[in-house]
């Protein structure tokens, strides 16, 4: 009986995929992240919104340690983020990241972009990696572009390739930092569609975005940040129709009037 409850407890514990405990970070005198506590469970889709400069990107980047933190703790699937080095590299492979500016490898073809991590980091053999890459490229709708270089693709296509590249690693969680902000309006929806599908498939996602439509339809939770703090967290419907904090009300009135 006790054995069973222990087992249940450990399942419950591993359900917390990303945990930030009392995280603080400074850029010189600027206190960008202030006492951040955030827990993301497996399969959850969390949208982070907030005014420019509030620390959303920084928060996102600390989760795979592209930015170091000054104090506090970050756990991925129960393991604390290690120091820079091989172990951190291995852990990063489990955390997919999609950037605002795509950052596809400019000297490699689309197919090579999606294969590289599998072959060099996961040590998958070339044939398998290629099959998986082609499947993923088809899934995000750019299968026919496999042999082109990134510069030959539209922004929307590049971003979908970037998503495929991250997915190829079989990540436990995907981080998106304003994935549609650099896109022309007609390309935004093609990227959001891919992300919607990913959310429906049960991927754990942290998405920094100002796309309220996406937040409403795909997110389980909205996290509102201002001045380096998490000011408010709520289910999307509740947050958008009835924000509690003045900061959130002010912010929403501004973006909804555009």
């Amino acid at each position: 009986m006790t054995a069973v409850s222990v087992a249940k407890d450990s399942v419950a514990a591993t359900d917390e995929l990303v945990v930030l405990k009392n995280v603080n970070k400074h850029f010189g005198a600027l206190h960008v992240l202030q006492d951040i506590d955030l827990t993301i469970t497996r399969g959850e889709v969390v949208v982070v919104i907030g005014p420019s400069g509030s620390g959303k990107s920084t928060l996102c980047r600390t989760i795979n340690r592209l930015e170091t933190i000054d104090s506090g703790e970050i756990l991925i699937d129960g393991k604390p983020l290690p120091q820079e080095g091989r172990e951190l590299a291995r852990l990063r492979a489990d955390v997919g990241m999609v950037f605002q500016s795509f950052n596809l490898f400019a000297h490699k073809t689309v197919l090579e972009n999606v294969m590289l991590g599998q072959v060099k980091v996961r040590r998958t053999d070339k044939k398998k990696a290629e099959d998986k890459a082609r499947t993923l490229l088809d899934r995000v709708g750019v299968g026919t572009q496999a042999d082109k270089y990134p510069a030959q693709l539209s922004g929307g296509q590049q971003q979908r390739v970037a998503i495929a590249r991250a997915l190829a690693m079989g990540p436990k969680v995907m981080l998106f930092d304003e994935p549609t902000s650099a896109l022309d309006p007609e390309m935004i929806s093609e990227v959001l569609d891919v992300m919607q599908q990913l959310a429906r498939d049960g991927m754990t996602m942290v998405v920094v975005t100002h796309e309220m439509g996406f937040a409403r339809s795909a997110a389980n939770r909205v996290v509102f940040m201002a001045d380096g703090r998490i000011v408010e967290q709520a289910a999307p419907d509740q947050f958008f129709s009835n924000p509690r904090s003045d900061r959130a009300k002010d912010f929403l009135s501004k973006i909804l009037h555009h």
Binding site: N64, L66, E84, G85, R86, A89, R90, L91, R92, A93, D94, V95, G96, M97, F99, S101, N103, L104, F105, A106, H107, L116, G117, K120, V121, R122, Y149, A162, R165, A166, M169
Partner: protein, 215 residues
């Protein structure tokens, strides 16, 4: 004219000496330069410090002084019994590597930071990121400065002649000591250097064009 024909063997030997010394120190300098450039952008502070110290030391010391050190200090303090050719190789390539390093580093800085961040977030290590993502994209910008560095190296290798290593410039001394007309000797020696330096700039122009297409 006669000087050349009568001493073709010496000229040829000197020419080959220059080519070999330039080639060998070029290769060593290139390897060292890239590795040290890697050190200079590495996340490990001691490596960065080593890289900075290396560049500061070898870029700011006159080459002749490095030759003197290689000849008179290295055998006493470090490794005795090096051949003059090896000592010339070390002096030339350490000196040149500092310049190669800085050229490569400035090339690295032209590659957008996002490229390295994307590689790191895929789980690639620092070395993998540098080797597979950053350096290949830095290559094109590095080629023009490298061409100048290797031409300078060719001419710098003349110093080895003064240290009794057989190379083109040394031939001049040998023959003018024997009383042959200096103008002609100089002309032929200069022509020899031109052949080497023209080949280098030709080769690098070719590389530049090739890489221009690949992108």
């Amino acid at each position: 004219m006669n000087v050349l024909l009568d001493h073709l063997a010496e000229f040829r030997e000197g020419f080959i000496g220059t080519v070999l010394l330039t080639l060998a120190s070029g290769l060593l300098a290139m390897t060292l330069g890239v590795v040290i450039a890697g050190f200079r952008v590495s996340p490990v502070p001691p490596l960065r410090m080593f890289g900075t110290a290396w560049v500061t030391l070898f870029r700011n010391t006159p080459l002749t002084l490095l030759f003197l050190i290689a000849w008179f200090v290295v055998p006493v303090i470090f490794v005795p019994g090096l051949s003059p050719w090896t000592k010339a190789l070390l002096a030339l390539s350490f000196y040149t590597s500092a310049f190669v390093c800085e050229a490569v580093r400035s090339g690295i800085n032209t590659v957008p930071l996002g490229q390295a961040e994307a590689a790191r977030s895929l789980g690639m290590t620092f070395t993998q990121t540098l080797r597979m993502i950053v350096l290949p994209q830095a290559t094109r910008t590095v080629i023009a400065p490298l061409s100048s560095i290797f031409i300078a190296l060719t001419k710098n290798s003349a110093i080895a002649g003064a240290f009794s290593v057989t190379e083109l410039f040394g031939v001049q001394k040998l023959l003018s000591d024997k009383g042959f007309p200096i103008t002609w000797i100089f002309l032929w020696v200069a022509l020899g250097y031109l052949v080497v330096t023209f080949s280098i700039s030709g080769l690098f122009r070719l590389l530049e064009r090739r890489l221009g297409v690949a992108r």
